[in-house]
Symmetry: none
Subunit: 217 residues, 2 copies
């Protein structure tokens, strides 16, 4: 259950009309629902539930008062090759390369590959506005992620605003849909001086952005 509209009104210092407007937006997205005389409650939405509810690095940032931003660097449909073809199959994919910013500072360089047939509805503005896993029209059931460290190479250094050869965390995540089918492959590069992982779960952290990642200082 959510707090009542009146409570939310006082909590957020907004009129009840404005609170309702916000709630109705969420209802349009099937995230919440209401019954007259009963109240608002979280909707049991099968699609986004599994992954969407979990804390992402960006939600963490938001709750810390840090403003997360995305900046799309590349957005292209192309044929999968190499590692991507191995994971997603030898098919057409959408590749999105983006820079994640925290308070205007780059903190992650992310490339996401998605089978083209699952990405045809996506615009460049879509992926700039929302995390990828909020945009998928299929249920995401889990993900596995590997974490490593390397020295930053080439243009990645410039994009992240760190010297060439700086240490970075390098992650790969494979996100799966029902039946264990891989539907997203992503690679993430984090400057090591700004970020560290906090891994405290035995099972893989199932969110698009590493849920165990934390900004330091």
């Amino acid at each position: 259950m959510l707090p009542s509209e009146s409570e939310l009104s006082t909590t957020f210092d907004a009129s009840r009309v404005t609170i309702r407007k916000a709630l109705e937006v969420l209802r349009d997205e099937s995230l919440v629902d209401a019954r007259q005389g009963f109240g608002w409650y979280v909707a049991t939405d099968p699609i986004r539930q599994p992954l969407g509810r979990l804390a992402t690095i960006e939600e963490q940032m938001a709750s810390d008062g840090i403003k997360p931003e995305r900046q799309i660097l590349e957005f292209a449909f192309e044929r999968a090759k190499g590692r991507v073809a191995k994971v997603l199959g030898n098919i057409q994919v959408l590749r999105v390369k983006r820079l994640n910013l925290a308070d205007g500072e780059p903190f992650a360089l992310v490339t996401v590959w998605c089978p083209a047939n699952l990405a045809e509805h996506l615009s460049r503005a879509d992926v700039e506005r929302s995390p990828f896993y909020e945009l998928m029209n299929i249920p995401l059931t889990g993900a596995t992620q590997t974490i490593g460290a390397t020295l930053v190479e080439g243009e990645d250094a410039a994009l992240l605003g760190v010297p060439l050869g700086s240490p970075v965390l390098r992650c790969e995540r494979i996100t799966e849909s029902e039946g264990g089918k891989a539907v997203l492959l992503s690679q993430h590069v984090f400057p090591a001086h700004r970020t560290e992982f906090v891994v405290d779960l035995p099972h893989a952290a199932p969110s698009m952005a590493p849920s165990g990642l934390r900004l330091v200082e």
Copy 2:
């Protein structure tokens, strides 16, 4: 134009908020639209007006009982170069390469370039579903087109289903917005055995698909 919200409010003896709610329902149905400081008006798809009203090759086909289809081959944001940079400027552009089909048979190979800032709202599905000029959020005021003939090269032959070295019509169109600013560059390749141009206008045919083009037999 509709009466203003205030007028409607007094006319129907309802508060402005209620009037707005009703209008927003109609807007969701694309029946009306509004511009701040201007007013509410019946939605006649003003975007598509200037060019969209003109007969396109696809409308001609439809009226002939031929089923037009588009098949997107490439959809990528990239830096303009060469001819594209010369026409649109040295900027990021969206490049879309597509195959146009008539009753399942390829009849045109089209590449369209559009400045990225005018294309951020477009998905691959969008450009597959609709002609480009219906998707632009700015008024299109005109276009100039050149028509030539060459021999088909490389993969274009396979895509069009014609032998290597077959004759093709090769067109380039520059579509402009207000102030004569070029906002679309497109190149079209038509197998000569299936198509011919019918040019009967002194001024350039201002539609995305050549309005003077006709399928033969």
